[in-house]
């Protein structure tokens, strides 16, 4: 399998490699040929005689200039085939991927969709990574929606091209199109078994009219060969050889390397600095003072002083030698311990009602039993294994950047604003992303590279060290939540009150905003799928003192932790089995619209008609996961099972965690069982990987993760103090079941995370009788749970 590099030419290979074809060379030419490669004669056996495929001369056909593409506005955007597909004469099928590859296997899934409808030969498929450009529509690889947004239009693009290739063959053979059929990169004459290969047909096909959507026949799901198939990853064969270009790997001729000393506090500033010692460090070339950041944070860099050197190490050493006096700025008083108490106090007082059913105060007053609980979850860092890194090249008029960004379009817009130049003079190409998890949707680090490159007049690579990544992130928000429930004499839940308090992500974009947004509330709070007669969801305000940003599954993390933990607390109070009680809370299969109860609900940007909140599907994954884990089985002392179910990013996931807790509080995870209904699935193997990855990512955060602040500065700095789960701590067994579904595709990259932490906490309760409501459960050191001193109610 051939795969094209990302258009980043390693310096030492620039001449040998030459310039690759521009990813959109075909747009202006309207032909499908990429231009490279020679026609390869196909020799097959047709009947008894050897059939030699004739070479088609497209110029021999005098055809009218085709009209404009009728496919520029299909559902999901532009499906014009030439935007997405180029076929070389040698048969290579080049598919443009406009989303960023960060381990979710989007190169493979996008290619599967196109190649299936195109009837391409999978072994001929190559990927071209698109630069950031509006022509591709949304490129923000975020929100678990690459497949959802693009499934339809990429199918249309592939099918349109297939039909044009078939039409070209029919024209050549002078046959009706019905007598030609496409399969595996060949068009066959159904009358005599002669074939024409796609590479041979492409140029002629490019001269034909693009069919209108009404004239395009998509395959039926039964006819799919690549969609919903376990197609191996397109990136893995290169990864195992150390090939492929991540953001941190970009090389440019004459490049220099930079790291930046940033103010410890958000909106801190350099009051003065002395770089004399820095400039004595061997290999250091110069220092560059970066502009101070001013509120709101947006995607602007944090300011500080850059050290530019001939290699990264010299830059790091030079930074160590810098003497900087910082002005701490407006957030110097931020102390996350004190702030936690404020958040909890806010959560105890009544807040703004975000959804209401019935009369919760009256129902609580009338309840036979009232249960309440407070939950707390700290800031987290995304900490992808590849820290932020960007390379920029400035030639006096034009800026070109290569970086591990989730959204090259917002990167481009941010650069245009920061440098005061026209967007047309900026090119941004995403590299592979060594993980992202939301961090790399913020292009502050690319702006740093651009500012430094403009100053030094050479290509510059900015690398964030791990300390930079941990201290200067866009942190997952810190939250306190209060839950109260009322039970009747039979233990049935009659009232549900959930109050959530956290600095909203909007505070990063407008520092006066302190109110949780509808979007964040709709991630597990205002969309709670429970059926009790009285329900009320409230929010409380909190100000941001650090940059708050998205982290894999966002507000679902803390909301699912509280909601699914509290559901189990109610079950315990009612003396009922946790899973049975959860099913009862969810109630009968039905479709829920939170807006009928006063919520403003965005449903991840999708309509509730197409993507309802379907409690039947929620119940189904819950029962499946329970069955997989043999829920209810007898366990030895110190072991317990916990369960949680959550819908996010339009997918339904239930998770059962088994824990083994020793009397001293040390914990291991013998098994995890997970059932997912994500609608139509493109690649079950890669969905399973996301289920394991999303779950363990969340378990790691729940057990060990806390970003804290003192005097406005982040306390943690590297992996000892910011801790990730390691092999020896990982679950011993992990089973995933994917529910077969023909519903439209939901998200996959994020939704496995939310149920993991509450399933874990519920399992710990089952094993020990201790209810843990504060994250992290262990922290940065040791292996023992921070078990509370008193038993839960």
């Amino acid at each position: 399998m051939l795969m094209r590099d990302l258009g980043i030419i390693p310096a030492q290979k620039a001449d040998a490699a030459g310039e690759g074809p521009s990813p959109y060379v075909n747009l202006s030419r309207r032909a499908f040929v990429g231009g490279a490669g020679l026609f390869v004669l196909g020799v097959t056996l047709a009947g008894c005689s050897t059939y030699v495929e004739p070479e088609i001369d497209a110029d021999a056909f005098d055809l009218p200039e085709p009209g404009a593409s009728p496919l520029t506005e299909v559902r999901g955007g532009d499906a014009t085939p030439a935007l997405w597909i180029a076929i070389d004469r040698d048969g290579a099928v080049k598919i443009t991927c406009h989303r960023s590859e960060m381990g979710q296997q989007v190169w493979t899934s996008m290619a599967q969709i196109v190649a299936d409808e195109l009837e391409a030969d999978w072994d001929k498929v190559e990927i071209i990574q698109a630069e950031g450009h509006e022509r591709y529509g949304d490129q923000n690889t975020d929100g678990s929606r690459s497949v959802r947004f693009n499934f339809h239009r990429l199918r249309v693009a592939g099918a349109a091209m297939r039909q044009m290739l078939v039409a070209a063959a029919a024209l050549y053979w002078k046959l009706p199109v019905e007598q030609c059929s496409a399969k595996g990169g060949l068009v066959s004459n159904t009358q005599n078994d002669e074939t024409l290969s796609y590479g041979n047909l492409a140029e002629l096909a490019g001269k034909l009219e693009i069919p209108a959507e009404a004239d395009i026949t998509l395959k039926t799901p039964k006819e799919w060969r690549y969609i919903n198939a376990e197609i191996p990853s397109l990136t893995v064969p290169r990864i195992v050889r150390g090939e492929g270009t991540f953001g941190i790997d970009v090389q440019r001729p004459g490049m220099v390397y930079a790291v930046v000393a940033r103010p410890p506090q958000l909106f801190g500033r350099v009051s003065s600095f002395d770089d004399a010692k820095t400039l004595e460090v061997p290999g250091v070339l110069k220092t560059v003072r970066l502009p101070d950041a001013r509120p709101p944070a947006l995607f602007q860099p944090l300011g500080g002083v850059a050290v530019v050197a001939r290699d990264t190490w010299a830059a790091i050493e030079g930074r160590r030698a810098l003497e900087i006096a910082w002005a701490a700025g407006p957030n110097a008083g931020y102390d996350s311990d004190a702030f936690a108490e404020q958040l909890k106090a806010t959560a105890r007082a009544s807040g703004k009602v975000r959804r209401a059913r019935g009369d919760v105060p009256a129902a609580l007053a009338a309840a036979k039993k009232r249960v309440s609980a407070e939950y707390y979850a700290p800031h987290l860092g995304q900490t992808p294994m590849e820290p932020p890194s960007a390379t920029a090249e400035w030639d006096g008029d034009r800026l070109e950047c290569w970086a591990c960004v989730q959204d090259p379009q917002s990167t481009r817009a941010t650069l245009a604003e920061a440098l005061g130049i026209d967007k047309e003079n900026i090119k941004v190409t995403p590299t592979w992303l060594g993980g992202a998890f939301g961090r790399k949707s913020k292009p502050d680090f690319v702006v740093e590279a651009a500012l430094i490159a403009r100053d030094v007049g050479k290509p510059v690579k900015v690398t964030w060290t791990r300390e930079d990544d941990i201290r200067h992130g866009y942190f997952h928000s810190v939250s306190a939540q209060y839950c109260e429930g009322g039970l009747d004499a039979d233990g049935k839940c009659t009232a549900w009150l959930h109050r959530t308090v956290f600095p909203p992500i909007s505070s990063t974009f407008d520092n006066t905003v302190a109110e949780p947004s509808d979007g964040e509330m709709g991630m597990g709070a205002s969309d709670v799928p429970f059926a009790m007669p009285n329900l009320r969801v409230e929010s409380g305000n909190a100000k941001g003192h650090v940059r708050i940003g998205w982290l894999r599954s966002v507000a679902n993390i803390y909301h699912a932790f509280a909601v699914q933990s509290f559901a189990a607390e109610l079950a315990h109070a009612a003396g009922r089995d946790q899973k049975d009680y959860l099913l009862e809370l969810i109630g009968p299969p039905r479709k829920i619209d939170p807006e009928t109860e006063g919520a403003k609900y965005g449903n991840y940007g999708a309509s509730l008609e197409e993507y309802p909140i379907d409690t039947g599907r929620l119940r189904n994954v819950l029962e499946k996961a329970a069955a997989m884990a043999e829920w209810g089985r007898k366990l030895p002392a110190g072991r317990g099972l916990g369960i949680a179910v959550h819908r996010s990013f339009l997918s339904y996931i239930a998770t059962v965690v088994e824990v083994a807790v020793k009397p001293d509080g040390s914990l291991s995870i013998p098994g995890v069982w997970l059932a997912v209904d994500a609608g139509t699935v493109i690649n079950p193997r890669h969905v399973r990987a996301q289920m394991e990855g999303g779950t363990i990512y969340a378990l790691s955060n729940a057990l060990y993760g806390a970003i804290t602040a003192k005097d406005g500065a982040i306390v943690q700095d590297n992996f000892p103090s910011w801790r990730l789960m390691r092999m020896r701590e990982a679950p011993r067994a992990f089973e995933v079941e994917i529910v077969a579904s023909d519903a439209p595709p939901g998200g996959v990259g994020e939704p496995a995370s939310p149920p993991a932490a509450p399933a874990l906490a519920n399992a710990i309760f089952a094993a020990t009788g201790h209810r843990m409501r504060t994250l992290p459960l262990i922290g940065a050191e040791g292996s023992k749970l921070k078990l509370p001193t008193k038993q839960s109610a």
């Binding site: 991540f246 290999g283 990855g693 000892p720």
Partner: protein
Amino acid sequence: MAITLTINGKSETVDAAPGTPLLWVLRDHLQMTGTKFGCGVAQCGACTVHVDGEPTRACVTPHDTLEGAQITTIEGVSGDAADAIRNAWVANDVPQCGYCQSGQIMAATALLRDNPSPDDAAIDEAMSGNLCRCATYMSIRRAIKEAAAAL
């Protein structure tokens, strides 16, 4: 000061400041970017190479201590164990983003060379120095066992 290193069997002369870790010599001076930076403090394993066959954290190993040593990186690691590991990695699609995987493969290859049929405890021991934020641990364990069976 120019120093000659033996990397993947080839002599490479580099001129980096004394004390510069091998990691940055590989990445910035020799454009061998397969070896990754993850922490710089020997905590994540992303920079794992073999020095005379031993898995070694390149981020904390000064390059000027390595004259005369055989340095092997992801670009050059070969042999039965490396082949078995690579094959199992591909067959199972172990990597997600792939960033940690050079280090994972270097660690797993060294493990299989020393211990052709590692049990869970041996895998824990050999692989717990290599972090994976994508959390491919389940697949790594599975693939190491498959590779061992194929050896």
